[in-house]
């Protein structure tokens, strides 16, 4: 692996550190940055962050990480996760989970749709029923009259 990856990471870290440091200063407003006040720790942390990011950027160590065979799989997975949680309340836990499960399995490389459905439906409904009925933990029912 080349050093370009770590350099990008270092640059992103540095930019984030500086932006957060700026936020820390702005949140302090005209209030004091006293050592024993509530504004000191955020500033400390962000300064430390930016400093370390700079060191990392200047000497990025090469890492031999495993090859990414599926560059888009994590991106699609994050998309599926966000859709899942946004549908959780309107559609209901059981249905949303079953649908997400099948979709995620496909993104992760499964090509056996029938098997995935046969696992997803009992799993989603079983979890829903045992959590709401046995453990008394509230989960969204959604469109199904459960």
């Amino acid at each position: 692996m080349t050093v370009s990856g770590p350099r990008v990471v270092g640059a992103v870290l540095l930019v984030c550190g500086l932006l957060l440091g700026l936020t820390a200063v702005r949140e302090a407003g005209d209030g004091s940055l006293a050592v024993d006040g509530p504004r000191f720790a955020p500033l400390m942390v962000t300064v430390l962050w930016s400093g370390l990011a700079l060191v990392y950027l200047l000497q990025p160590s090469t890492v031999d990480s495993e090859p990414a065979n599926h560059k888009w799989a994590p991106v699609m997975l994050v998309g599926a996760l966000v859709a899942y949680v946004l549908l959780l309340e309107p559609v209901g836990f059981a249905l949303a989970s079953a649908a997400f499960f099948v979709g995620a399995a496909r993104i992760l490389g499964s090509r056996q749709l029938l098997r995935d459905v046969l696992v997803a439906v009992p799993l989603a409904f079983g979890v829903y029923l045992s959590f709401t009925q046995l453990l008394d933990i509230r989960l969204p029912a959604g469109v199904l009259p459960l």
Partner: protein, 511 residues
């Protein structure tokens, strides 16, 4: 002693025994779900104890849930390499290698028996020292607490992992997450960006789920489906689980792990990360089977797992006597105590001794129940390995989402967990250690509070941290820990032998 006996009398009533048994069973079943570690399990199962009016029964059930969840968590770390909390990371290194080579049964058995041995010995130690420490704890000052938090963070960050810069960056990320939300002393908002959820702070459960469950799954997705990495599970030896050879190689690491785990856990800066990694490193360097390390050496499972379990009894010392949680699980446990209006701290032993001693007695009982329940079920846990990867990882994501949502009842909290998961994904790809993040989140706020409290007491004078001998010594130890990794290199230079490539002293290579 009489206190402990009356504690046993309380626990051994049929109703309380039943609570303990339910706790251990449910704890194991939830804890064994991939990506759901002990802290998350307790957080998830908190609501089921609400129906009990008696705090003693509820706490007994918690002890059971904790032991079950911890063992369940080790099981998943060993079988699937998805540790639910940083304490199981050391176990997973060799444990997962054993599982991949068809020795899952032996790995799980040495973990279970080691946990039992370590749990029993360390609970005896806890019974002996808890009350004296509680009376001693009244003399601890804010400056001491601050110094201890610094020591804990420096130790884990500098000694674990290959690069100090990356370790410190991980720690800083954790510290940043810990700063988010309302300041505990003045009520001012920090880094909330107008979000109510952020104003509440980022919960430890959210960080754990994001970093471990979500991050690991995204990492696995990028890597692609590994070809079946698990070989057929071999048949057992003596007692069906461990061969005579396995017993011979396991018993010393169990005892050494206990000896490391309890004192480190008991330090008010402790937690389970350091002793588990120290145990791992020690076994690796001392083993007659050094060449097996990295390929599944049983010592590398027996030691860290015993250390993990012993350190929990150790962690209860600062939790019960000082009210300081030093691990993610202890933090959740503290929240559970507070729901039942039990405030741990030096006064707890004086105010409600019957409750404390019932809890300690229930640890003995929970340990026995755990062994009885788990040894026969090892075969069942091993079959988890046969689940196809895509199905398993999809299930992890569903359970992770379920966990955060059930705890918080908030879609935004789940999105925050996903965000942290994406960070965890990049941390895995670029080899940043994960344990310092958790430590930063837990100890950061504690450190800040004690720092400011010490300054208030000392009238804003920074010398309070060096004038008190105890504080100064602890801070000096922290500096020593930061320098220690470079000592071999400096020594070699001083002797003028730089031609031989001297490696930086590394106590553990994480992941």
């Amino acid at each position: 002693m009489n206190d402990l006996l009356s504690g046993f009398a309380t626990v051994l009533s049929p109703a309380n025994l039943l609570f303990a048994a339910i706790g251990v069973t449910v704890g194991t079943f939830v804890g064994v779900l991939p990506g759901i570690g002990p802290a998350l399990t307790i957080a998830l199962l908190l609501p089921i104890t609400f129906s009990l009016d008696d705090p003693v029964g509820a706490l007994i059930m918690f002890a059971g849930i904790y032991y079950g969840a911890m063992y369940g968590g080790s099981t998943t770390s060993i079988l699937l390499n998805t540790p639910g909390e940083s304490a199981s990371v050391a176990t997973s290194i060799e444990g997962h290698q054993m599982a991949r080579r068809g020795r899952a049964r032996a790995a799980l058995a040495t973990a279970a028996i080691g946990s039992f041995v370590a749990g029993t010995i360390s609970t005896v130690l806890l019974s002996v020292i808890a009350a004296p420490v509680a009376s001693l704890a009244t003399s601890f000052r804010a400056a001491d607490y601050f110094a201890l938090a610094v020591l804990a963070m420096v130790c884990v960050t500098a000694l674990v992992g290959r690069s100090v810069v990356r370790g410190l960056l991980s720690l800083t990320f954790g510290l940043f997450l810990g700063v988010i939300g309302i300041d505990s002393l003045t009520g001012q908002s920090r880094f909330a960006f107008g979000s109510l959820e952020l104003l509440d702070g980022v919960g430890i459960v959210v960080v754990i789920v994001g970093l471990f469950a979500i991050g690991e799954t995204l990492h696995a997705a990028a890597r692609g489906d590994e070809p079946s990495t698990v070989e057929h599970v071999g048949s057992g030896g003596l007692l069906g689980w461990l061969s005579r050879e396995d017993w011979r190689r396991s018993w010393k690491p169990w005892l050494r792990g206990t000896a490391l785990g309890f004192p480190f856990g008991a330090l008010p800066s402790g937690g389970a990360e350091l002793p588990t990694f120290l145990s791992y490193t020690y076994e690796k360097h001392r083993s007659a089977h050094r060449d097996e390390f990295g390929k599944g050496a049983i010592e590398g499972v027996a030691g860290p797992e015993a250390a993990n379990n012993a350190s929990f009894s150790g962690v209860l010392v600062p939790l019960l006597t000082l009210g300081i949680p030093t691990s993610a699980t202890a933090a959740v446990l503290l929240a559970a105590f507070q729901i039942f209006n039990v405030q741990p701290g030096p006064q707890l032993f004086e105010r409600s001794p019957e409750l404390v001693w019932a809890l300690i007695a229930s640890l003995y009982v929970g340990n026995v129940l755990l062994l009885i329940l788990n040894l026969p079920l090892i075969g069942l846990w091993v079959s988890v390995l046969r689940i196809p990867r895509p199905v398993l990882h999809s299930a992890i994501l569903v359970f992770a989402t379920l966990g955060v949502y059930a705890v918080s009842n908030s879609v935004v909290e789940v999105l925050i967990a996903y965000g942290i998961g994406v960070v965890g994904f990049f941390m895995r790809r670029y080899d940043f250690p994960l344990a310092p993040v958790i430590l930063g989140v837990i100890l950061g706020p504690l450190m800040e509070e004690q720092f400011r409290r010490a300054l208030l007491i000392g009238d804003g004078n920074l010398t309070v941290f060096v004038t008190r001998p105890l504080t100064a010594v602890i801070l000096a130890l922290a500096v020593l820990a930061l320098v220690a990794p470079y000592v071999p290199k400096l020594l070699a230079k001083a002797r003028g032998r730089d031609e031989a490539p001297v490696k930086k002293l590394v106590f553990a290579e994480e992941d």
